[in-house]
Amino acid sequence: MNSPARAVSPLPSPTTARATLERVAANLSLAVQGKDKEVRLAVTCVAAGGHLLLEDVPGVGKTTLVEAIARSFALSFSRVQFTADLMPADILGAQVFHAQSATFNFRPGPIFRQLVLADELNRAPPRTQSALLEAMAQGQVSLDGATHVLPRPFTVVATQNPVDFSGTYPLPDSQLDRFLMRLSLGHPAPEVEARLLTTRDTSSPVEALQAVTSPEELAELRMQVAAQRLDDTVAEYVVRLAQATRSHGDIERGASTRAVLALGMAARAHALWEARDFVTPGDVRAVMGPCLAHRLLLRSANQGAYTRDEATHLLEEVSRKVPAPR
């Protein structure tokens, strides 16, 4: 590795960062075919240091995508299947009594991984959900007075089914707000599906994936993202977009300040795709839907996927109406 160069310039250049992102995206596309846009957004989300909510019907490759991300970045990975009887201790870990030393030792739960897949998050009781979400927000776990720091980089990808609500505990809005983006993969295009049928052999596509980068590089990427320049006019634009959602007639509750920050961060990460070290209004618009759609409370009584579509639609309208700085 070229560590001397890094000592001089601790950040990779935007061009390097872009190469990394492209590499990861290409790698992921091997596992999840025909979903380039979603894959790129997912990589953007991870690069921005945010948590990702995948909302989709079962069987479209959510888990595959997450596992592929873990492999591509060479992150330690755990998958927790959320069920109605899942307890906080099941994910966070617990104090275990050691008979030999007659002491309680902390046995870390599955959350102590760099990438945690919380599958079907809304099936767990709120208590468990909030334990996870607290860990997501704080980057640490507090248990019995002791604080256990989670590994870095730390990312949670949660999935939920937007159609089947029976026996679920829908996430409160305040907790949805903690996810940087919400994505849905959707069904692949027919030709992609056909190709899957013909080419897919017995081995899982994920298992064939090689790591194309490292957790260290991901950490550097995140530093690079944080260092991206956000011009005053663009910042103003972000705020105006958020204000437009707040004053929109069909939106009960618009974007929060946390949403504004998230939008800014995601836009910073998005700028790397163009190897830029500054954010443009186009970056903001590109990530606006995934960043804000799940944070809006709409006036209409639609549910599930319909709400999602409507929110996306309203956000498109807002981004058309609010003039971008020139």
Binding site: T233, Q243, R276, T280, P281, P325
Partner: protein
């Protein structure tokens, strides 16, 4: 209160004030209404709205005011239009003190609009125009701010730059509308108000009274105030008319005073015929100004028919009747500030019928005062000898008087026998002395004569002739058998017209000229005048006998059209240069230029797309221009958002590159793009 809100209210209140002022400049509103509105405006401008809690209840306060106005109208002390205008002002005042919300601005400004209409009805003069403009500007600004206020949520900053442009546009349109309202449309004012007097230079007097008293002292002849304005048809076209304008005549002299024995006729009429008309009568449209200060009609000698009299009072203009008094005097029945009427006069030198004179009146034309000094008769005999022809005798006497006596305005005060004093002691006097002397000298020799008073002169200003107070004059009518009364003037010709200071006179004349031009071209510029103007401009004049008719408009129409076009173009250029330029960033100007070039070949942003989006779209569509546009876009984005400003000349170079790329497009591609656009 938020700042824009406060600003909007101030603008709205000032606009209402301007609307009120547009009525107030007519000077006809009652002073108490003026005061009430002024108080309301001042209170409102200081930001206090004492009525805002009970806007409905305080509206009840308007009821007694309406009652007061009604009483004033019913008692004839106030015109209905003036009362309506005053009430509109009071309503606006109540609204000012009670309403603050943008949604009710319409009410306040509607009251303002009513007041402007009232102002048009009352005066429509230059000051009204100024107030109208002010109202248009202030009202449109405040309405614009109300829209902004409604659109911007509380606590959020007003997007000033976005607002300024449409606001300025709206204001400009309102201003243009106001100008059009004032200039292009026929005058709305119905001349309800009194005619404006000339500048105050002494009290209104023309020296007219029931009697003429010799002696005393007068400054009348030096008064340059304009008392009469007349248009003549046919127009004599001379600068100085030098004509006798008759007011009334006198037949009885008691040694000190002239009076008339003729009894006033009981019945008043709208039209009076004094004597039969003749060929070539002179038509006069006469306007008596407030400086005149008397009710006697004045007409060019010798009037035959008078009528169509209007009286202008403080409560409006209306028709008035004429009352015939003795001595050919006609008076308006109603007293007013000013009058206008029409007269037909027989031109001087025409034989006239003296009218039916009763025997008593005939005798009176020879009557001498009881205490007449015998020297007077002796003097007349010496001068005239045995002259038998009345006109020759009169001319002889008058030239003798002009030769032997001097004219003076310095008078010796009251004396018991002013005529003897004039003829034998001072040998100096003014027109009344000369005229009285001539009349009595003629009578002493058995010639019938009478004294006439009125004005002498007529100074051309514009298309009109004016008379000044100083033009007041007295002269003699000699009754010549078969010819009627003939005018003979004993006063030296140099002293007949007014003798006011030349400087003062020219100042008044300048004012008169300006006012006359203002009246004819603005205030009284009617729809008919507009049509005439346009017709004169476009219809080629046809010389009499010239049958050839051009189909094209005349040269002057073309010239005017070109001049107007040039003026409009220059004004547009000036305005577009003066337009407040937003401090456009170099990068913003650059992106504008790029978008213009792209639009020329049909690549236009759709639905709020920025150049960034357009570039991405072109790349996606594999457009032939994409390779040229995307580096440009990238450079623009860097310059705009990445703090790497464009170098001097760089944008020109980049644009050149784009131009080349566009030029290199295959022609069918260009065509296709344009067709798609």
């Amino acid at each position: 209160m938020t700042r824009p809100n406060r600003l909007r209210l101030i603008l709205r209140d000032l606009g209402t004030g301007a609307a009120f002022a547009s009525m107030a400049v007519s000077g006809q509103l009652p002073i108490w209404a003026l005061g009430l509105f002024a108080v309301a405006l001042v209170v409102a401008l200081t930001g206090r709205r004492p009525f805002s809690r009970l806007p409905r209840l305080t509206a009840v306060l308007l009821v007694p005011l309406a009652g007061a106005l009604y009483l004033a109208v019913a008692s004839g002390r106030m015109d209905l239009v003036v009362a309506a205008c005053s009430f509109a002002g009071l309503v606006a005042g109540q609204r000012l003190l009670s309403e603050t919300s943008p949604s009710t601005d319409g009410q306040v400004l509607l009251a303002g609009l009513l007041m402007v209409a009232g102002g048009a009805a009352l005066s429509g003069e230059l000051f009204f125009a100024v107030c109208l403009m002010a109202f248009a500007v202030l009202a449109s600004l405040s309405l614009g701010l109300a829209v902004v206020e409604a659109a911007v949520p509380v606590g959020e900053p007003v997007p000033v730059r976005e607002v300024m442009r449409p606001l300025a546009k709206g204001t400009l349109f309102a201003l243009l509308g106001a100008v059009a309202f004032f200039i292009l449309f026929p005058r709305l004012n119905w001349n309800v108000g009194a005619r404006r007097a000339s500048p105050g230079l002494g009290t209104a007097t023309s020296g007219f009274s029931d009697t003429v008293r010799l002696g005393g002292s007068g400054t009348l002849k030096s008064n340059p105030r304009v008392v009469l304005r007349a248009t003549l048809a046919p127009d004599p076209g001379t600068e100085q008319l030098g004509a006798y304008w008759l007011g009334r005549t006198y037949d009885t002299f008691d040694g000190q005073e002239w009076s008339t024995i003729g009894a006033p006729k009981k019945r008043s009429r709208t039209r009076v015929t004094l004597r039969p008309g003749a060929d070539k009568q002179v038509y006069q449209k006469v306007e008596l100004l407030p400086a005149y200060g008397s009710r006697t009609l004045i007409a060019l000698e010798t009037p035959s028919k008078l009528g169509n009299a209007l009286v202008h009072t403080s409560t409006g203009t209306r028709r008035t009747q004429l009352q015939e008094l003795g001595g050919d005097e006609l008076r308006f029945v109603v007293e007013g500030l000013g009058y206008s009427y029409e007269v037909y006069s027989v031109p001087p030198g025409t034989d006239t019928d003296p009218g039916k004179l009763e025997q008593l009146e005939h005798d009176q034309l020879l009557a001498l005062p009881d205490n007449l000094d015998p020297r007077v008769t002796e003097l007349a005999r010496q001068v005239l000898g045995d002259e038998k022809d009345p006109l020759t005798a009169a001319n002889k006497l008058s030239s003798w008087l002009q030769r032997e006596y001097t004219y003076t305005l310095e008078l010796g005060g009251d004396v018991t026998d002013p005529l003897t004093e004039f003829l034998f002691a001072r040998k100096a006097g003014h027109c009344e002395h000369f005229a009285t002397a001539l009349t009595l000298l003629l009578r002493s020799q058995g010639f019938q004569a009478r004294l006439a008073t009125g004005f002498f002169g007529g100074e051309r200003i514009g298309d009109e002739y004016i008379l000044r107070a100083g033009d007041a004059h007295a002269w003699t009518h000699v009754l010549v058998p078969g010819r009627g009364f003939v005018t003979v003037d004993a006063t030296p010709p140099a002293f007949r017209a007014n003798q006011s200071l030349e400087l003062l006179e020219s100042l008044v004349s300048i004012y008169e000229a300006i006012e006359s031009a203002w009246r004819s071209s603005v205030v009284d510029y009617s729809f008919r005048d507009q049509m005439n103007f346009v017709r004169d401009l476009t219809r080629p004049p046809r010389a009499p006998g010239d049958k050839k008719r051009l189909d094209l408009p005349p040269m002057r129409a073309w010239v005017t059209a070109v001049l107007v076009g040039v003026a409009v173009y220059q004004a547009w250029r000036y305005l577009s240069r003066r337009k407040p330029r937003t401090k456009a960033l170099e990068a913003t100007r650059f992106v504008d230029a790029v978008e213009r070039q792209l639009a020329a070949v049909g690549v236009k942003p759709r639905d709020g797309e920025t150049l960034e989006d357009v570039s991405a779209r072109l790349t996606r569509e594999a457009h032939p221009l994409a390779p040229a546009v995307s580096p440009l876009t990238r450079r623009y984005l860097e310059a705009r958002f990445g703090q790497r400003a464009l170098q001097p000349g760089e944008s020109a170079q980049l644009l050149k590159g784009l131009k080349l790329a566009i030029a290199a497009l295959p022609p069918e591609e260009k065509h296709q793009q344009k067709a798609r656009a």
